[in-house]
């Protein structure tokens, strides 16, 4: 099998294990490409991709744009600020207007959960979800699991704890799906107020004690505290959060085993992890960023293959 089972990348939930593995093997080849003197291949030279970012993003937008350009696609960018959205245009109208200019694929980030699914049902284009509210962020989960596979050779049987703001995190949800599909065991850790109520139904365990969680796991994925989504107070203060759920070098060194630290970025240094942890050999944060371009190239390449001429 060398074809994806889906026509859009809307979330990890809709992917099969074979799909994920196909994306990984394709990404291996693209990782090779981006480490060459000429970091570019001509595969998508007749494809135009629109990046629609209705919500702020630096890393993901840059990563997608690089991936697209390294596949030789034509790229148009759109961000919500300064657009006609402010004038009251609907999402479908905005996207259809862009598609009328002959765009083959849409990469979209949107603050509303389900925006990508909605779009895939209503417009005629391939959709890649680059994050929809607190729902899913599939390419992030793919690059996270890909980085684990790169470091350990396999994801199967690994123990991963996701620490922090689970309730607002699309990264957490996508990671849980991806890790479980690849055979890893997942726990979540954080203040009770930031753990969704029925999360056990996904087959993950809740651990409120950070030290116990770290002693258990092989890999800790530290999420950012999403200050912009804290419409009510979930914990007394940042300082208290850091004292209870922040990882510093002292804590890591006091563990009986090596734990790999991951972070989807952007890091709040000194909140969820300290600088010495972020810059240490335990962290594979920059590998994640590098792998992000390769993974996104693989996703775009494999979806483009399914566009009929």
């Amino acid at each position: 099998m060398s074809n994806l089972s889906v026509d859009h990348l809307l979330g990890i939930k809709g992917l099969s294990r074979e799909d994920i593995e196909l994306i990984f093997t394709t990404a291996d080849n693209f990782k090779d490409v981006i480490n060459r003197p000429i970091k570019k291949v001509p595969s998508l030279r007749d494809i135009t991709i629109a990046n629609l970012f209705f919500e702020n993003s630096t890393r993901t937008k840059l990563s997608f744009e690089l991936a697209e350009k390294r596949l030789s696609a034509d790229v148009v960018n759109f961000s919500a600020s300064g657009s006609s959205l402010k004038k009251g245009e609907t999402l479908i109208d905005t996207v259809n207007n862009i598609l009328a200019m002959k765009v083959d694929m849409v990469v979209m980030r949107h603050p509303n959960p389900g925006a990508a699914v909605f779009l895939s049902r209503n417009v005629n284009s391939r959709i890649v979800n680059a994050g929809d509210g607190a729902h899913e962020h599939p390419t992030q989960a793919l690059l996270d699991t890909y980085s684990i596979r790169e470091k350990y050779g396999d994801v199967e049987g690994k123990k991963v704890v996701i620490v922090g703001d689970i309730v607002h995190s699309r990264v957490a949800l996508s990671n849980i799906f991806a890790l479980q599909k690849l055979g890893a065991t997942v726990k979540v850790c954080g203040p009770q107020t930031l753990i969704p109520k029925y999360i056990e139904d996904l087959g993950v365990e809740v651990e409120l004690d950070l030290r116990k969680a770290l002693e258990w796991c092989d890999i800790a994925n530290m999420l950012r505290i999403q200050l912009e989504r804290q419409d009510i107070k979930y914990f007394p203060s940042i300082r208290e959060y850091t004292m209870t759920y922040g990882v510093d070098a002292e804590l890591l060194n006091s563990l009986s085993k090596e734990v790999t630290i991951m972070h989807p970025g952007p890091i709040n240094r000194g909140v969820e992890i300290t600088s010495d942890v972020a810059d240490s050999d335990h962290a594979i944060i920059l590998n994640q960023v590098e792998n992000g371009v390769a993974i996104r190239m693989a996703v775009l390449y494999l979806l483009a293959e399914k566009i009929a001429r």
Binding site: S2, N3, T25, T26, D28, N29, D32, V33, R36, P37, I38, K40, V41, P42, S43, D46, L71, Y301, A304, E305, I307, A308, R309
Partner: protein
């Protein structure tokens, strides 16, 4: 010359182009031709095209090392999937293979190796892919079977194992496992 009648009869069943003995002689002869032009391979590298050219490249590499008594000859594999001109235009998805070129090709003479030269499109993408690794001094092309008169691009090989006349409904099967052989089949033989 084969008469038209016997020619048609032969088409009825798979035709052996090279049996294992002739295949072996052909590979040895190709190696000698390479040595004539490239001496001790100090400034020359071999690149096998994925997926089917690499076995031939391995065989040639081993033969060259045998003749040149263990000289160091660089051998790499090149995958051309991302450079193909039929992406999204074919029924079957392209299967991507690994590229391993862990040496510089800048200013080197490169011999690209594939099993069959047919339309010429694979080697065209191969040349594009190769240039992304640097600027070789010279590129040559070695092929085991040249299906002449079927080119879609102005391309020819520098070293040819055997030239055959074939039609579109036929396929050349190169098998280099163990002793190996090369067969010309009609596609619905399978």
């Amino acid at each position: 010359m084969i008469g038209t009648y016997s020619y048609i009869c032969q088409r009825m069943q798979p035709r052996i182009l090279l049996n294992s003995k002739v295949l072996d002689i052909t590979i040895k002869r190709l190696a000698r031709q390479l040595i004539e032009n490239h001496g001790d391979f100090e400034n020359t590298v071999l690149i096998g095209l994925q997926p089917r050219g690499i076995q031939l490249a391995d065989r040639l590499h081993a033969e060259l090392k045998r003749v040149l008594s263990g000289a160091k000859i660089d051998l790499g594999y090149l995958d051309v999937s991302f450079y193909r001109d039929d992406f999204r235009r074919r029924d079957e998805p392209i299967t991507v293979s690994e590229t391993t070129i862990d040496f510089e090709i800048e200013n080197k003479k490169v011999i690209m190796i594939d099993d069959v030269l047919y339309t010429g499109r694979t080697i065209r993408s191969g040349m594009d892919a190769l240039m992304d690794f640097g600027r070789p001094k010279k590129v040559e092309f070695l092929v085991l079977i040249d299906r002449r008169f079927s080119r879609q691009l102005p391309i020819q090989a520098d070293y040819v194992g055997r030239t055959v006349d074939s039609v579109v409904s036929e396929r050349v099967d190169v098998n280099l496992d163990n002793e190996g052989h090369v067969v010309l089949k009609t596609i619905d033989d399978e």
